[in-house]
């Protein structure tokens, strides 16, 4: 807490000249690390475009939830949707900001990128330790034409609690009833086998260093580190490559009409859909003490929905479809009320 106010104070001090000039409207947010790069990019661009300055602290989804429950920030950010009763209890509105995808990465001598074909069941069996060699008959069966070596599989996972792990284990739980029963889905879980590494970079590094390794990272890290990804079989039964097209196909097939926008983009229908895609969420108080700051948060995301798509795609995130953004705006004007009882959005 002290550190936070110190940071805020020093941040404010550093920005005094700016504030005097541009009347910079500052908004503060905290939470998920997964979308932090795109929020940073949007923040930069939005300050130039609409004079709203975002101060975002990527402290993890759990921390972000704590801070917005305590109202120490203007908005919280979480990769996992917050349960409806907790949203109710803390008077929060939840809406999606952007989407991301998780991809499996492998290090198998002689197997190039997107050559290996995996199903969700195989992935779950590997991470459960029941498939432990790359030349296991079940893997060979799914990969006719690819020569798989007699090499031990070294599963790598995120050792730190993370939204990426939540998304990945949600997928494993969705496709494998056994995984669901024995392990489950969470930001950190009890991994039956394998080694943990810290952060996406750590997983990418460990997979690159270890022969026979398999891991999972956000797509941006696989692209940036030029790691060998694998194809996955989607719900329609097709093997798909992790590309922006297959991510967008998954996003297009999501059902956003569920309460609190808690749409699951895990294993969606659609012939071309990549099966591990997930939205990341913003948590906004429905009864803000300071209506102006709350309005600025909405202004910021409104601007990001309109203008941030290309920036997001450059960073390998998937922009929200326009009709979902419209639905979010409608929810803002319906649900967020200032101290005077008047809707905060659209800004007067």
């Amino acid at each position: 807490m002290n550190r936070r106010s110190f940071l805020l104070a020093s941040g404010a001090a550093a920005l005094l000249p700016l504030a005097a000039r541009a009347e910079a409207a500052q908004i503060t947010g905290a939470g998920a690390t997964f979308p932090a790069p795109v929020y940073a990019k949007w923040g930069e661009a939005a300050q130039a475009a609409i004079g709203i300055q975002l101060n975002y602290q990527a402290i993890g989804s759990g921390g972000g939830q704590n801070q917005i429950f305590n109202r120490t920030v203007d908005f919280g950010a979480s990769d996992a949707p917050v349960a409806a009763d907790r949203l109710e209890q803390h008077g929060l509105l939840q809406f999606p900001a952007v989407m991301g995808s998780v991809v499996p990465i492998v290090n198998i001598p002689g197997v190039g990128t997107d050559q290996l074909r995996l199903t969700g069941e195989l992935l779950a069996e590997i991470y459960a330790g029941r498939i432990s060699k790359w030349n296991d008959p079940r893997l060979v069966e799914a990969n006719r034409g690819v020569s798989l070596p007699n090499l031990a599989i070294a599963p790598v996972y995120r050792a730190d609690g993370s939204g990426t792990t939540f998304v990945f284990t949600s997928y494993l739980s969705a496709v494998s009833p056994e995984w669901q029963r024995q392990v489950g889905a969470n930001t950190s879980i009890r991994w039956p086998v394998g080694n943990g590494a810290r952060g996406n970079d750590g997983v990418a590094g460990m997979v690159r260093n270890t022969r026979g390794a398999i891991g999972y990272v956000e797509n941006a890290y696989a692209t940036r580190n030029r790691l060998a990804t694998a194809q996955l079989r989607n719900k329609a039964g097709n093997f798909v490559r992790p590309t922006m097209e297959s991510f967008r196909a998954a996003a297009a097939n999501a059902d956003w009409s569920v309460p609190h926008f808690a749409a699951s983009l895990i294993d969606t229908n659609g012939a071309e859909s990549w099966p591990i895609v997930s939205p990341t969420f913003i948590l906004l108080p429905k009864n803000p003490q300071d209506a102006a700051r709350s309005a600025n948060v909405m202004k910021f995301f409104d601007w990001a929905y309109r203008n941030g798509g290309r920036m997001a795609a450059e960073l390998e995130y998937i922009p929200l479809p326009d009709e979902v953004a419209d639905a979010v705006r409608a929810t803002w004007s319906r649900e967020v009320k200032g101290p005077d009882g008047q809707p905060v959005w659209p800004p007067r």
Binding site: G62, T187, I189, R198, N209, T210, R211, G212
Partner: protein
């Protein structure tokens, strides 16, 4: 104390001296306040950790210390795995570091020519100044690939084949694991142990050693029968100091320990330490959750453990510290 009593009994002093006395009193008060502040802070930290960890202690009872479950999905937590990992890495680090530290200390006090002593001594002390994150990165990018590519496969193919002893050296050569973590820790605690040992060896009165040499003892016999017995307690104390450091090391260990919440019989297997687990899991622990409480309880255990080890080290080193 005795000085203060003497001045208060003295005849009245000129004004200037009295001002000095008031300054003395203020200074003493400030110093006392600083000392008390540290004690209060220490007490507050222990109390906070214990209070925060209380829900976990209450929920799991004494079994919390031994349970090897760490399952955030089912909300079942135990300290067994991380206590085991902490103990194994720290003790193994000492096993690796103490002989080397002994060699360094002996070289610096007995064998090295005088002009070499200062440079070597300074190099050792510089090791202590390297930030732990640097050790972590170096371990991850340099040591881990070497372990995975060369050392571990070689050991697995030789010692790993032996019965009983072999179980300690089996499994896939990830490069990370308890042994790698212990190796990094050994390098990190080396300068502390070596420094204490060097001072202890240097404190042996030369006349003892000269007498032994005069009786025809070899260098090894002098070390074995004169230097070591004289410095024994300090050597143990210095080792405990290193142990205290190894127990709490976080960043470097996190990089190389493998971060798995299970106990593996093999030293090549992944494990976890208390400090590393807390660092990794803290950001995603919800306020008021049992997981957060379990992490605080782990913090309390680590605090108690380090406190105990350092207290023992202080107690053993007390003659030296007084001198």
């Amino acid at each position: 104390m005795s000085q203060a009593a003497a001045t208060s009994a003295a005849p009245p002093l000129p004004a200037r001296r009295r001002a000095g006395k008031a300054g003395d009193a203020a200074f003493a008060l400030a110093c006392h306040a600083a000392g008390v502040f540290v004690l209060v802070l220490l007490g507050a930290i222990i109390a906070l950790l214990f209070a925060g960890g209380w829900p976990a202690f209450r929920a799991f009872g004494l079994a919390f210390l031994t349970s090897t479950d760490w399952d955030p999905v089912q909300e079942v937590f135990g300290a067994g795995v991380s206590l085991y990992g902490t103990a194994v890495t720290a003790v193994l680090a000492l096993v690796l570091a103490v002989p080397v530290a002994f060699g360094i200390a002996f070289l610096l006090t007995e064998l090295a020519p005088a002009p070499l002593r200062r440079p070597i001594g300074m190099a050792i002390e510089l090791l202590a100044a390297v930030p732990s994150i640097i050790y972590g990165m170096w371990g991850f990018f340099v040591i881990v690939p070497v372990m995975a590519g060369t050392i571990q496969p070689a050991i697995i193919d030789t010692i790993g084949e032996l019965p009983v002893l072999g179980t300690l050296f089996q499994g896939p050569p990830f490069g990370t694991g308890l042994l790698t973590a212990a190796l990094i820790l050994a390098i990190m605690v080396l300068p502390f142990i070596a420094a204490v040992m060097r001072d202890a060896f240097a404190a042996v009165p030369p006349v003892y050693k000269e007498s032994a040499y005069g009786l025809g003892a070899t260098t090894w016999e002098v070390v074995r029968h004169v230097v070591l017995p004289y410095a024994r307690v300090s050597v143990v104390g210095g080792t405990m100091l290193g142990l205290g450091r190894a127990l709490g090391e976080t960043m470097a260990v996190t990089f190389v320990v493998g971060n798995a919440n299970r106990i593996s019989p093999s030293l090549f297997g992944a494990g976890n330490t208390i400090a590393s687990l807390i660092a990794l899991e803290f950001p995603e622990s919800g306020m008021g959750s049992l997981k957060l409480s379990a992490l605080l309880a782990l913090g309390f255990l680590l605090f108690a453990l380090s406190f105990l080890v350092l207290a023992i080290s202080r107690w053993l080193l007390r003659p030296r510290l007084k001198g």
